[in-house]
């Protein structure tokens, strides 16, 4: 019995101080690691957010790209509305153009090779909701003279859009040939007061309608 006790005493073991020291060291190392990675996390969040927003605006533009490519620059078939013709208040960046696709989604219609216009597409930014919206009006191929047309029902093609602008180019030309689209989108994290990174993203693209 005495031998057994003396054998245990002869073995070296952990005392409570050792354990406490180990935990403290581990905590220090983890804390240091976290501190090292903290900016990296921020950077990652920023990169991720930026790419996500850029993809958002790219997707919004992509949703109208085919329609804009397929439309015409004929007078009053492609109309950009400003405050003077009703695009003001809760409306921003209002544009209308015709499509040769029935109900805006069907097969492109041609007769003797030429497009047969089937419907009118309206796109605008609803400022209060920051939604970029698209309305298909299959009842007419002549956009309204003054904004707003009947805008219900519509689909949302972009969210968190803070600014939208459509411009016919060359600027001031009575015979424009291209449409410039500029969308500004705000990051979801922009509301956080501690957010130190870029919060707004802009995509500007120029479209060349291909039909006469």
């Amino acid at each position: 019995m005495t031998e057994a006790i003396s054998s245990l005493r002869s073995q070296r073991g952990y005392v409570i101080v050792d354990v406490v020291m180990g935990v403290v060291l581990l905590a220090l190392v983890l804390l240091t690691t976290y501190q090292v990675f903290l900016p990296t996390f921020g950077l990652s969040r920023n990169a991720s957010e930026r790419v996500a927003r850029q993809q958002d605006v790219r997707l919004a533009i992509e949703r109208i790209a085919r329609d804009l490519h397929e439309t015409t620059t004929a007078a009053n078939r492609l109309v950009v509305y400003g405050p003077a013709n009703g695009c003001t208040g809760s409306y921003q960046g209002c544009i209308a153009f015709v499509t040769a696709r029935p109900a805006c989604t069907g097969a492109f219609q041609v007769t003797a090779g030429s497009p047969v216009w089937e419907a009118t597409i309206y796109v605008w930014l609803d400022a209060p909701s920051s939604e970029l919206r698209r309305r298909c009006d299959p009842t007419t191929t002549f956009p309204v003279a003054t904004w707003p047309p009947v805008l219900i029902p519509h689909t949302v093609i972009g969210t968190r859009v803070t600014q939208a602008a459509f411009t016919l180019q060359p600027l001031g030309s009575p015979n424009p040939t291209t449409v410039a689209v500029a969308l500004r989108e705000q990051a979801a994290t922009a509301a956080r007061p501690s957010y130190r990174y870029q919060t707004e993203f802009v995509n500007q693209t120029i479209f060349l309608p291909q039909n006469r």
Binding site: G22, L30, V51, H69, A75, N76, F108, G113, P115, V116
Partner: protein, 512 residues
């Protein structure tokens, strides 16, 4: 213990780092895929342009198909891209664009992460047609007089603006000589009708409208529906060979009002500032276009080989004449016979008159749906109050492509000139003159061409399905003058394929 701690930390750090890299990589991948989507569209467009160039360069654009057939013509493009195009083969086979048109289709692909990102586009094109203009003049194109009426409407409009009306163009100048000139002024003050070969129509119906537009008192404000969208453009053109001099001093043709030599910049300015209240077109565009040249000798050869009129020649007193090349005196005999026998016994094929010719009696050349091309090697004059008809079978592509009247002029015009009518001087330079009168009517299909210009005299009526191109031989003559007459061109772009060169795209769509 310390070793275990370090190892555990390393494992945690590595896991976090790897997930970070993965996260960033995924985002970049998404963005790159979207870039590839945009790139593939550009590559497809490049393929379509290549297909257009191939048709343009073809010796026979009408029958051209891409040489590899259904497999398509495959070309690398850019760093990771390639396109395949088809002309009337593969996915473009079966005339999806319609008879007489070429279907061009291109597939653009960009490789990203071993995936093919595709885009597919299609265009419908008119072969043998270097440009689209319903009425085009090398020198001045003008409308004069308060009762001058010109309508350039689409052939077979399905809905308003589908297709749009034809364009009006010049290499030098388009002049509106009088504030009363009407151009596409559809039923401005009340319903106006036009008596054409196939019935009497309200003028707005020719553009596809079901009712009369409501006009605004202010000329700067457009009528409702917004009718200008359904009209063609005014083409301020410049030849590919370089600018032609005009009195405005502009490199491209200018648009002028009355005697002014100032270029009018827009339709709005023409209507409001220049007081041309009755002129309606879509817009004004500048284009560089190829000058057109037709060969009189090839027409003569075709007429010489045309034996289809042998019996008619005999009946008209031209016994033994087997071809269709006539001296003016011979053609007078033939016209006298046709006047009382056509229809049903009418001319056929290409007919060539070797010298200046003057129609002095009402005549139908080829019947209701013929295939006559009248070529004149001199001037062509239609006396006052005379009707001349030369209609084609427009139910066929061949009928629509056939030229109607070609006035080539003498190889060397005579030194002096004579008064054809109404002060219009002729010397064999290749003028086409309608003397006018309330009973004068020219009903013609296909291309109407003159080497030294056309005049529509007072009260004359021209009812054409096709297109006009009028040249100039370096004389002071205008290429086209509507002098208080009425011109209705139902523009059929296929009429311009008589040129036989080039390709003009009439529609474009994105399939994918």
């Amino acid at each position: 213990m310390a070793l275990v701690t370090v190892l555990a930390t390393l494992i945690i750090v590595t896991a976090i780092a790897m997930s970070l890299v993965g996260l960033l990589h995924t985002d970049i991948t998404h963005a790159s895929i979207q870039h590839a989507v945009a790139s593939s569209f550009a590559v497809a467009q490049a393929g379509l342009a290549e297909a257009q160039a191939a048709v343009f360069a073809a010796s026979d654009p009408f029958t051209y198909t891409n040489p590899s057939g259904t497999a398509g013509e495959q070309r690398p493009y850019g760093q990771n891209g390639q396109f395949i195009y088809w002309v009337d083969t593969g996915p473009a086979a079966g005339s999806p664009c319609g008879p007489g048109l070429k279907t061009l289709e291109a597939l653009g692909e960009v490789t990203y992460l071993r995936r093919q990102i595709p885009a597919r586009v299609r265009a419908c094109g008119l072969p043998g047609t270097p440009y689209l203009a319903a009425l085009f003049g090398v020198s001045i194109v003008e409308a004069q007089g308060a009762t001058s009426r010109t309508y350039i409407v689409p052939f077979q409009a399905s809905t308003p603006g589908s297709p749009r009306g034809g364009a009006l163009g010049s290499f030098t100048e388009i002049n509106f000589g009088d504030a009363g000139v009407h151009l596409n002024a559809v039923s401005e003050t009340g319903v106006e009708t036009l008596a054409l070969r196939d019935g009497v129509f309200p003028d707005y119906a020719l553009f596809g409208f079901s009712s009369r537009p409501a006009y605004e008192a202010n000329p700067a404000v457009e009528p409702v529906p917004w009718i200008t969208a359904v009209f063609g453009d005014i083409i301020k053109a410049q030849p590919t060979t370089g600018p032609l001099a005009n009195r405005c001093g502009t490199a491209f043709a200018c648009v002028t009002a009355q005697n002014s030599s100032t270029d009018v910049p827009s339709i709005q300015a023409l209507r409001a500032a220049e007081h041309m209240r009755h002129a309606y077109m879509n817009g004004m565009v500048q284009q560089v276009l190829p000058p057109l040249v037709f060969d009189p000798d090839s027409m003569r050869s075709m007429a010489a080989a045309n034996g289809a009129n042998q019996t008619l020649n005999q009946d008209a007193g031209l016994g033994g004449k087997t071809d269709s090349v006539y001296a003016p005196a011979e053609f007078t005999l033939l016209v006298a016979h046709l006047a009382s026998h056509c229809p049903p016994r009418c001319l056929r094929g290409t007919v060539y008159v070797d010298g200046t010719y003057r129609f002095m009696q009402t005549v139908t050349l080829g019947g209701e749906s013929g295939d006559v091309t009248l070529a004149v090697r001199g001037d062509l004059i239609i006396d006052g109050n005379i009707s001349v008809t030369n209609r084609h079978d427009l139910s066929t592509v061949a009928g629509r492509r056939l030229p109607g009247v070609m006035v080539f002029g003498l190889a060397t015009p005579t030194p002096g000139s004579t008064n054809a009518c109404g002060g219009n001087q002729v010397n064999g330079s290749g003028r086409f003159i309608l003397c006018g009168g309330s009973s004068q009517r020219l009903t013609v299909d296909g291309l109407l061409y003159s080497v030294d210009g056309m005049v529509i005299g007072p009260q004359a009526m021209v009812d054409q399905i096709g297109a006009m191109h009028h040249s100039n031989r370096g004389t002071a003559n205008r290429s086209f003058t509507n002098q208080n007459g009425t011109l209705v061109i139902r523009f059929d772009p296929m009429a311009l394929s008589a040129v036989g060169r080039g390709l003009t795209v009439v529609s474009w769509q994105q399939l994918r």
